[in-house]
């Protein structure tokens, strides 16, 4: 019968050994995190650190944030604009702890944000380079602006049929719909929702799938919105496949994915507004522009018609005056006379015989007389 020890004695010895060896040391490690469980109310977070060789996990250990360092997680999310979640690779400072009941754990003391940000920026840069290499986007050498097939598409004259990609029962969905429905100009819109999860690792793929399910012939534009002022987790919008899908989509894509400080690559290849509300307002303003142009043409039409009629009236008056100037009454007033014989106006004097009785019409009277003599010098008259 072997001599046994109490479990606590062995565990105590392990604890003592570990404390002696590790209590005054900390380590900077770079590792992937998995099984992240956050307890925001208690400000605890449990997770696993893993290292992989290919698909195989070659090292694994439990990790923990206690309330004293929990704000590292919130700060990390703010700084990197991504959710602290399984699958991330982080660089952090850890201490080795042993608990008699819960065993060996690495307690996280600090996360190195710079590493995480640098890694994100590197990924972003690589994605942009790939988009340029594959001729999906072009960068303007002078302005630095990115151009894609999609963001160079002209917007339709009026936007009314909207395909809305958003998360179900979300702030973004509500904000967008509210602005569209309550527009004060009474513009009509038909909004078809394509609901999907819009955050997290799978989001890029899920959003691409929704986009592919949209029949471009049935809509004027696509709006992708995400709201609530959430700063974190727009990594999905830097996903190469999603960006490619948006950049090459045959009708204009408008984004409002709610972040102020950074622009996702999806925003770069589409038309960006900051929030769902701003995207909806942009659409209403676009229609308002058209409405204003119609209003302007209405006024121009009315002015043009007035001017047309005015000119016609003036022309008419002009002709009336000319006709009046040429009338016999006007001529008589100017001192000319009309010679008549046998009730007819005589134009050719040869038709008047030597002894004819003629009537001479002057301004107010008719003079009847007998011709006594006719002469001519053959040169006609020169009346000044």
């Amino acid at each position: 019968m072997p001599v046994t020890q109490k479990l606590s004695e062995v565990v105590n010895e392990i604890e003592g050994t570990i404390r002696n060896r590790f209590s005054d040391r900390t380590f900077w490690i770079k590792a992937e995190i998995a099984d992240v469980k956050k307890y925001a109310d208690k400000r605890w977070c449990f997770l696993k650190f893993i290292e992989k060789s290919g698909a195989m996990v070659t090292a694994e250990i439990k990790g923990v944030f206690w309330s004293g360092t929990y704000n590292n997680i919130t700060n990390f999310e703010k700084a990197t604009q991504q959710t602290f979640n399984s699958g991330l690779e982080i660089t952090c400072n850890v201490a080795v702890r042993f608990h008699k009941r819960y065993g060996l754990t690495l307690e996280v003391l600090e996360i190195d944000f710079a590493y995480a940000i640098g890694k994100l920026e590197m990924e972003r840069k690589q994605t942009i380079e790939r988009l340029i290499n594959e001729q999906i986007v072009v960068q303007d050498a002078v302005t630095g602006q990115f151009y894609s097939f999609n963001n160079r598409l002209g917007l339709p004259t009026v936007i009314q049929r909207i395909a809305l990609i958003t998360a179900p029962d979300s702030d973004g969905q509500r904000d967008f719909q509210k602005v569209i429905r309550n527009n004060k100009y009474g513009y009509a819109f038909s909004v078809t929702e394509f609901l999907t999860q819009i955050q997290g690792d799978e989001a890029g793929k899920l959003i691409s799938n929704k986009l592919k399910a949209i029949d471009p012939g049935k809509f004027d534009i696509v709006a992708i919105v995400r709201g609530g002022g959430s700063d974190t987790d727009f990594k999905a919008f830097n996903d190469f496949d999603l960006v490619k899908c948006v950049a090459t989509f045959p009708i204009p894509v408008l984004t409002g994915i709610g972040h102020d400080r950074n622009t996702s690559i999806t925003d770069l290849v589409a038309r960006q507004n900051r929030t769902p509300t701003e995207t909806a307002t942009f659409i209403i303003d676009h229609n308002l522009n058209f409405d204003n142009e119609i209003e302007e043409f209405k006024e121009r039409l009315s002015r043009a018609v007035d001017s047309c009629l005015d000119h016609a009236k003036k022309d008419l008056e002009n002709y009336r005056q000319r006709i009046k100037n040429l009338s016999p009454a006007t001529i008589l007033k100017k001192g000319f006379a009309i010679v008549m014989m046998d009730g007819k106006i005589i134009i050719d004097p040869k038709k008047i015989p030597g002894n004819a009785t003629i009537s001479t019409l002057l301004k107010d009277e008719i003079i009847h007389s007998q011709v006594t003599k006719k002469t001519t010098d053959g040169t006609g008259f020169d009346i000044q």
Binding site: P156, E293, L301
Partner: protein, 64 residues
């Protein structure tokens, strides 16, 4: 007025008519006809802007 008339076609046509009238390129006896045509285009655009099949405001009272 043609039902399937697009905004941009209606607008181009309206611009053309208004310019003709402004330039007095038209006979007085066709003025009334042209003005009527322009007014119909304006009415078409204004009413289309405010009514569309499947309007979100109609759905508010329905199941959606």
């Amino acid at each position: 007025m043609e039902q399937g008339l697009t905004y941009s076609n209606a607008f181009t046509e309206l611009q053309k008519l208004v310019r003709q009238i402004e330039n007095e390129d038209i006979q007085l006896d066709t003025l009334a006809e042209k003005v009527h045509e322009a007014n119909e285009l304006i009415k078409h655009c204004e009413s289309q802007l405010r009514s569309i099949e499947g309007d979100v405001r109609d759905q508010q009272n329905g199941a959606a």
